[in-house]
Symmetry: C2
Subunit: 398 residues, 2 copies
């Protein structure tokens, strides 16, 4: 009777874990929502006033929040103190490795960008050189950061596919998906190469754009979201029940290679009639190309009008399939798909109404991103703060 010979007791680690959980929940709330009254925190977190008081005291003591009087409301009664995320005490790095550029930002609590850099990524730049350029960016920003600010983590958005099952980050060649992937390296090695003392958290561009739009953008407050990213190919970031759907190896969301036409054109992936290939037969999935075509159509060019109509029709075709599969609350059209959707919304909606089941489509909202091209970087910043929000006091220790 190995264990029962000890007296039953509540274990201390368990109490600590509750405190950590509550501190994390409160800090996450103000990180996402900004200034929040104590009264609202009490309601939203389901904790009593004295617990909220103890938690805010701890977080203020660690320099993570400030408390202050609210703006004059004109209402009678003593107003509730307002809790604000403090953006200067801790920071994360958000990085974005895109097809043609590299971006890096130093980001504070509340998602505030404190410093940022952007550099072109010339075609054919080797992965090792890409990482060296980003390391120099980080070094530069690090020097400019206040000496007492604490680094809490980093997130990287990688364009094209990657995996996180085995911790090795891989990029697909821009041209297609049938060929081999390029190993960017294990997340740990990547951290070392970037001069960071802990491994970055890595996600692909569509996943992180979806996370960003779900947290702070066009789909804020919606728990079932498909974010479609058009950028030569089409990939999706999927949020189901409020959580990211990334699949076994992090490869989920390759919706561009859903085959929609057995008689369609050959695709670089080796298949035929992929969704992205059928759209690209009419309008190349490159933002400049889409913009040029849409503008020509607007000016009355019949070929361009037909191309927009057909491409938008195929866009709606695939969206209807995804709506039947996921029953989402929102579909967000990002990257080059934004312009195509805006120009051809009627055709997209037409396909949705004829192809999607009424029950699956009846609550779906079609939207364009609020965060634009910053979405992957904003999503990467959310990853950078995950560790802090899981254990605020320990992580914020200098």
């Amino acid at each position: 009777m190995s264990a029962s010979s000890q007296s039953p007791q509540r274990s201390t680690p368990t109490q600590d874990s509750v405190r950590r959980q509550n501190l994390g929940a409160l800090l996450r709330y103000v990180h996402v929502s900004g200034d929040t009254s104590r009264a609202e925190l009490t309601n939203q977190l389901g904790l009593n006033r004295s617990t909220i008081g103890a938690l805010t005291a701890d977080l203020a003591g660690a320099g993570l929040i400030d408390e202050g009087a609210p703006q004059e409301t004109g209402r009678a009664g003593r107003p509730s103190l307002v809790v604000r995320p403090r953006s200067s005490r801790v920071y994360g790095y958000a990085l974005s490795i895109e097809v043609d550029r590299l971006r890096a930002a130093r980001v504070g609590l509340g998602g505030k960008v404190l410093d940022s850099r952007e550099l072109p990524r010339p075609a054919g730049t080797a992965v090792r050189d890409t990482v060296a350029i980003l390391a120099a960016c980080l070094d530069d920003m690090q020097r400019a950061a206040p000496a007492d600010a604490v680094f809490v983590g980093s997130g990287i958005a990688v364009s094209r596919m990657m995996r996180h099952g085995d911790g090795v980050v891989r990029m697909l060649p821009p041209g297609g998906t049938g060929g081999g992937t390029t190993s960017v390296g294990a997340a740990g090695d990547l951290g070392a190469a970037l001069g960071l003392d802990r491994p970055p958290v890595v996600g692909n561009v569509a996943d992180l754009a979806a996370l960003a739009e779900h947290t702070r953008g066009a789909a804020a407050g919606l728990d079932n979201v498909i974010y479609l990213h058009g950028d030569a190919s089409i990939s999706a970031g999927i949020i189901a029940g409020g959580r990211r759907v990334t699949g076994h190896g992090g490869h989920g969301g390759e919706v561009g290679h859903m085959v929609v036409n057995p008689q369609g054109r050959e695709c670089g992936c080796g298949s035929r009639g992929c969704w992205e290939t059928e759209i690209a037969r009419h309008v190349s999935l490159d933002r400049d190309a889409v913009l040029a075509c849409v503008e020509a159509a607007r000016l009355g060019d019949p070929t361009a009008r037909d191309a927009v109509r057909q491409a938008a029709d195929w866009l709606g075709f695939g969206v209807a399939n995804l709506v039947n599969i996921f029953n989402p609350t929102a579909v967000v059209f990002g990257g080059a798909l934004r312009e195509l959707y805006l120009a051809g919304a009627t055709h997209v909606r037409g396909r949705l109404s004829t192809m999607a089941l009424p029950a699956c489509r009846e609550h779906v909202r079609l939207r364009t991103p609020l965060l634009g091209d910053d979405a992957p970087l904003v999503g990467a910043a959310e990853l950078a703060f995950e560790r802090l929000l899981a254990d605020p006091l320990e992580t914020a220790e200098p």
Copy 2:
């Protein structure tokens, strides 16, 4: 200074919530895994030995588990006590409303079926009559249950689509999906009609079969699973990251209406070339029809062999699309799809290898269900125990 004028303290409700959480985690573990040693519980739940001792004492006191000496292991040293779910003290009802039959079971902890009934559901039986038949079944089983056993909840698997967003359960007509749905009623009214003192938790057949195979069946231990249910139509139960993906209104998984052939046959849903329609052009998605065709093909009938080949080819076509979208670890072929998959596995795998991206397909396992036709009922039983597993002691109170 409303809240901070009170002294900071840890609130009692919070400690209780940890205890509830730990009790639930321990009970869930033995409910799913069966007999488990205290040593394994200590490892798996990350709690210390004295906490495990206190938790098992509480659960044993409530009659939910038994503890005892393990089987002789032959190993040296004092063996760890074994914790067993006790199946007789509490029970849930699992119900299944299928196209052609009704099933009901009284189920104990650990998933043990204590009593069960099965009745035909003649074609055209009105929903109200269906519910009355099930109510009589429950009444009958209730009479046979021990007087001191405690009812903890019920789950219902409903064939065809339903919604849980607004709490109203709807069934689609067996013939198609374009027409109107039949309201089975709000879950609360349904509970009252069934003579239950709390509303049942409702899920559709494919979702609950997926939950069952993920919890106790062919996909146990796998967190990214697509369960395909063939039964006149094709629907999917989807598990991503260990959680059910049901969508905004519970309508997700209508994969049978993913359009795979713009030049295909008209579907009952009003669209054309739906995945299920393209398969059914070759072999009707009815188990008897599939079995007959597969048997004829086995005996060398050339028409039947061609039909199996073509239907399996289309089956693989849709599976490849889903693999690209979800990057699952397992795809389970249930209902009528089981026989079609077994007969045409080569063609399914052929499509997968040419249409799915290597990264998405490399770890996927194709499987048949372990729980067979019981899967929806087993899944409904899991729903029935959700409340108990969230708060064991309170729920098990007589």
